[in-house]
Symmetry: C2
Subunit: 251 residues, 2 copies
DNA sequence: CGATAGCCTTGACGCAGATCAATCCGATGC
DNA sequence: GCATCGGATTGATCTGCGTCAAGGCTATCG
């Protein structure tokens, strides 16, 4: 057993880059064997596009993070109205330590790979290894900020603004993963169906479709096929989104 | 200097019952002097109804929790549209450790007392004293759940359902503080103006007013004055709220 | 090749909630 | 007493988005 000492090293103990554990790379305080214990319980799971990972209310005995693909968290009312409340892109975390059952439907909207830990051992590690909890707190605070931005969108934005916002959000997340902006012009592949977009935005899918057509007609975006979108002027899109958050492409 | 040992004791080191520190009561691992260091930086602040505590974007060098009164977090778009994104009742926490400036307008909607800590020392304590971070993680996860419930409300509920939901939410929070339910019949004092309610719900204040009148007309609620509400049958209110979450009065 | 299925688009129409405007009610001050 | 002011109510009208319905595009399969 050895202590890792001193300066932040470019060193990732856990190969999967998306886990909260990743943060160890800049933590000089944790024992290797604590992470090793966690490693033991780690496993990967794959899901097909459209597959439901857990239903709201069902037992959920793992936590984990998305390695590749897209998943969504969705709430459903008795009469079937659905609202997406979480969009999980690669590196996002799912699962609440300390909760037995899922609070939302978790659905893979594309083919998906997740990196999972069984919940019990994960909770133990969290208690023993402060920086894991600290990392998780950071991530949760980020989620909360995103949720609040999302609330503004749901409560006050028009359909057109909602669509523009969603495209911008995905473009930004996309770019922060695989840097590809070339001054103003940005390209995105929407990873969501029109229906999924409508569940994200609190609209119907017809309205989503109409507004996308409108943005296209007005030259704010160009479309190839159904999902491939070219944004000639990102600042213009941001303007359409009615966003007061700083308009830069990379925040 | 002494270690607190062994079993969870009914013991609150910090008199203010609302701090994240409160959790120490059931933590056997922290040094008293760590908390004492924190105590040193603790101070109380009072605000008058209507006073803005910080503006979005301004420097915010403290964190803290509400002791008494109500505060709100609100986002504003350039053209003035406003959406509330946080409702802070007694015991709720404000402020993100690690962030320099406020991300939202924080406004006292009633006379308010807050228990504050300067941010820097608080962050230090958080690093040194794991259970404080753990408690904060729990609280943040609760906030996130609340935000997601709120998103369902904003995205999919009708005006009538939104009003019923808000009344139920406040009644529940109220009751969990000062137990006062008497089987079915519940009494609440709304701590918000119609305008604040409209900012919470993503509606106009006229619609709020109309829907409250409608619920009154239909016997779902009774009203004395402007703000004092009697709910003859809480289950009926829950039904009006379209809530799938378990309908019990105390969750 | 045509048939089926999933996803998307477009049109016609109706309604929930926004907007604009007038009035009311209770508290506070002179 | 009356005037003022902030909050709340109520009415009349307008409109953005939902609803219902028809049809198009592309991929997959027989």
């Amino acid at each position: 057993m050895q202590k890792t000492t001193a300066a932040p090293a470019k060193f990732t103990h856990v190969q999967c880059g998306s886990c909260p554990i990743r943060h160890r790379a800049v933590c000089a305080r944790c024992d290797t064997d604590e992470l090793e214990r966690l490693e033991e319980t780690k496993y990967y799971r794959s899901f097909e596009a459209g597959q439901t990972i857990v239903w709201s209310g069902d037992r959920m005995d793992f936590v984990g993070s998305v390695v590749s693909g897209i998943a969504t968290l969705t709430q459903t009312m008795e009469d079937g109205r659905r609202q997406m409340v979480g969009l999980l892109l690669p590196s996002d975390f799912v699962g609440r330590p300390g909760r037995e059952t899922a609070a939302y439907d978790v659905v893979a909207t594309t083919d998906l790979v997740m990196c999972c830990f069984r919940k019990k051992p994960f909770e133990t590690i969290m208690l023993d290894t402060p920086h894991v909890g600290q990392r998780l707190l950071e991530m949760t605070l980020d989620e909360l900020d995103a949720a609040r931005e999302w609330m503004l969108l749901l409560g006050r934005k028009t359909a057109r603004e909602k669509i523009a916002s969603l495209i911008a959000i995905i473009a930004r997340r996309d770019a922060s993963l695989k840097l590809q902006s070339s001054e103003g012009r940005v390209v995105v592949d929407l990873p969501l169906t029109r229906e999924a977009m409508s569940e994200y935005l609190g609209l119907t899918l017809e309205t989503v479709s109409r507004q996308i057509s409108a943005l296209k007609r007005d030259g704010v975006i160009q479309i190839e096929g159904k999902r491939h979108i070219i944004i000639p002027d990102f600042d213009l899109l941001i303007e359409e989104a009615g966003d007061d958050s700083d308009g830069g492409f990379l925040v």
